[in-house]
Point group: C2
Chain length 140, copies 2
DNA sequence: GCTGTGATCTATGTTTACTAGAACAAGTAG
DNA sequence: CTACTTGTTCTAGTAAACATAGATCACAGC
């Protein structure tokens, strides 16, 4: 699996890496225990500076989604099977969700349409059933 | 109605103004036709530079949510009663929603919980029923 | 004419994003 | 033990973004 990065996008590169990893976790492609490429490897493969990758990985580490060790490199620390989120996360997520949902609403989408879109997006991540197989996935 | 701005927040000030206005539109507090304070008035009231307010209002204007005229000042251009969104908006919104939903998922919220939260947030905006009364709301 | 409005131009300072190099420490393989 | 890879940290520089500031113009209403 390769991280698609759009270097000309207005979204900062470190944010793109972060977002793609989070989406990989949500979709089950990157289950807990899966390895990501090392900071230097991803930087070399993507043609970007390893400090930029480090920022993305460090952000994921701070959020509790990634373990970074010299022994194992970058390893997914948690996924949806790993238990409920911290309260801090929930409150922050609600705030951001409120704004995003407000945008949909202001632009004319109905409650039903918005919920349908969210449902479809969640469904696209995979069924909300048993935990994914703990096979080791990788981004390289 | 006063825009709550947190000047020490990591969220840029212009983004906060934008987001609060969008939320006002979504909740019906700012229906189509409602007036916002002038750029200079909001800047003076908030203790910020009017260029910063101008950036927020211009962003809203570009998104089709605000009309800016010398005659009427800043007036809400649309709300949920004004018809469906542009396709461009929907595609962009989906992309952002996918990332936000992925975050909830990666941190351990179930499909059901996520949808429940979205539903609750949407409900808090007000019922998805008849258009709000077209009384002129104001942020001043 | 005066006042208030949005719009536009130039300029400055601070913060953020991204890049770069160097170095250190920990861990692994040969 | 050596060489290599790994994450981590420090310093430094450039470009872009954010916020500020002043000035000016055109338009509208009184």
């Amino acid at each position: 699996m390769i991280i698609p990065l759009v270097l000309t996008s207005e979204i900062p590169i470190y944010q793109q890496i972060h977002d793609r990893v989070v989406e990989g976790i949500a979709s089950g492609t990157l289950p807990v225990g899966a390895s990501l490429p090392s900071i230097r490897a991803l930087a070399a493969d993507s043609g970007i500076n390893f400090h930029t990758v480090n920022k993305a990985y460090d952000l994921l580490r701070q959020e509790g989604l990634l373990h970074l060790t010299r022994k194992h490199g970058a390893v997914i620390a948690r996924d949806h099977t790993s238990g409920p989120p911290h309260q801090d996360f929930v409150a922050d997520w609600d705030t951001r969700a409120r704004t995003l949902l407000a945008e949909a609403r202001a632009h004319g989408l109905s409650h039903g349409d918005i919920l349908d879109r969210c449902q479809a997006l969640l469904t696209a991540f995979g069924v909300d059933g048993p935990p994914s197989a703990p096979a080791s996935g990788s981004l390289a």
